[in-house]
Subunit: 314 residues, 2 copies
């Protein structure tokens, strides 16, 4: 479809995702006016210094007034409070969306408070980095990444098409699914990986027999990869854990069961079982690279690049 155009885009929350949307939406000319709101005065001032929008409001209700597209870009635990806050100020016909990593909870938190004359379409761009805050945003963040929309029953087709077009204009591919399925899929591809990364970094931090300086020195042997994910925003990830509890606990149980079996194979020196698992996981990597969702360069390109630069410098 052709690029949609909005009169006024209101972004509630201006961290990594909010600031990336602001930059990309302006570059693509998707809104006549971009209004930014966040409850922290300090962050709002920073957003203004970075020239991320056209108008800046501490009051979210002021920001959404007259907006035909409102996107919440906040930790999912804040969704209900914001829905209550902005509901009376929403313009009839406006599209209300979000970018939260859990979707059933967002529907439960927001839907009861929103007026019947707006289009509520939850969303989740599958994109990010380990950084956070308004300085972390960049307009290419969504390019070649999926954005999942989870419309509720009776969603207006035109509104859905306009919101899909918005994300496509930001460079994303759009997929529609129901919110329960979203939460199950994301539990395994995102939430549990983050939880086990935080966990292994915590375990290493607690050891008595291995010093922290050893963990850091020898981290290139595998550990460092986990620390990137474990450097993600703590508030966001606390909220994800609290708001997708059932799916996360289910996937964690499966992970732990499988790990117990693997532990047993190690204890009993079952080399065949280890080799079987360690071989079949290679295919998934290959498919992810073929799907354009990761780089094929070894070590994500960091060492070859760093080394080449170091070498050039000599």
């Amino acid at each position: 479809m052709s690029k949609p155009k909005f009169r006024r885009l209101a972004l509630i929350g201006i961290g990594l995702i909010g600031s990336s949307i602001a930059l990309a939406a302006r570059r693509e000319g998707l809104a006549d006016e971009i209004v930014i709101s966040t409850r922290s005065e300090h962050t709002l001032r920073r957003a203004e210094e970075l020239n991320l929008g056209d108008r800046y409001c501490l009051d979210a209700a002021d920001a959404v007034a007259g907006a035909d597209l409102v996107i919440l870009c906040v930790p999912v635990g804040a969704s209900e409070a914001i829905a209550k806050w902005i509901a009376p100020a929403l313009a009839p016909g406006a599209i209300i969306s979000d970018v939260g990593s859990t979707k059933s909870s967002v529907v439960r938190q927001m839907q009861p408070h929103l007026p019947a004359n707006v289009h509520f379409i939850p969303g989740h761009p599958i994109a990010g980095t380990e950084e956070s805050g308004p300085d972390a945003g960049f307009p290419e963040l969504f390019r070649n990444r999926w954005c999942i929309l989870t419309p509720v029953e009776g969603t207006d087709e035109d509104a859905l098409a306009r919101l899909s077009g918005f994300w496509e204009a930001l460079g994303s591919m759009v997929e529609v699914m129901d919110h329960e399925h979203h939460d199950l899929v994301l539990a395994i591809v995102s939430h549990v990986p983050h939880i086990i990364a935080y966990n292994i970094v915590g375990t290493a931090d607690d050891l008595e027999a291995v010093t922290k300086s050893e963990v850091i020195k020898y981290s290139a042997s595998g550990f460092r990869d986990f620390t990137r994910i474990a450097a993600s925003d703590p508030t966001m990830w606390r909220d994800v854990c609290l708001h997708n509890k059932d799916a996360i606990l289910e996937m964690l149980s499966r992970f732990s069961e499988d790990l117990a079996a693997l532990q047993r194979a190690i204890r009993w020196s079952d080399g065949a079982a280890l080799f079987e698992l360690f071989s079949r996981t290679r295919d998934i990597r290959r498919s992810i690279i073929e799907a354009g969702q990761d780089t094929a360069v070894p070590n994500f390109g960091r060492d070859t690049k760093d080394a080449a630069e170091a070498s050039d410098a000599n």
Copy 2:
């Protein structure tokens, strides 16, 4: 110290590490002659096509004859067989080393078979990528990475200094520690991270409710990072698990205990405990970057770079 010089360097095994040593040793002029040996005719031919050495032998005993530096670059499970094979052919005074990821087992496997008139000094460069085979090597692999040497009791100081100088000339920083401590440190910084990465990829692969295509499509949300590590060489990692069993099982127990506590915090909505863990893990990331052991660029630089290239192409 000044760059050491060897008359003949014999490399037994020519995968990622062996081929990287060959390329770097030649570039730095560390040996008059580089002899390469591997039991696979196909791989040996490939090494020759890549011009990795000066001479190529299927028989490891032929390769080590007259060599003053011999480095085994094979999965650790092959150490004993190779020690038996090459022992009768070793030149008096030669340094015999290896690059295996476990060290106590290598000492147990090799030491009993080696003659008293050679210098046996096990080693482990903390460097690698997810690729394997002779095509995967590149000479910068060891630059700015640590190499751990684990000399046994009574090791000759001169031989240790010469081997340290060799690794320093390849770009590494050298650390000396005993082999038991090495195995404990590597269990937490390398072995357990690999095992849990293989495990989560296996868990995701086994789900009924989430399709493989969904796992691949949405992998940029965290999962893809784990698939890189889980694409590592299955034979090498099977051997690591079988040959550092005690330390790995100890660290896996701690990991599982911590994960159970985290699971409980999620179940009982203990947001404070989650926030505490998710916050303290950030510091370790920062220290790793400050120590030059990982890049500071978000997402290891892959998305910003890919996106910038995609953008340039438009």
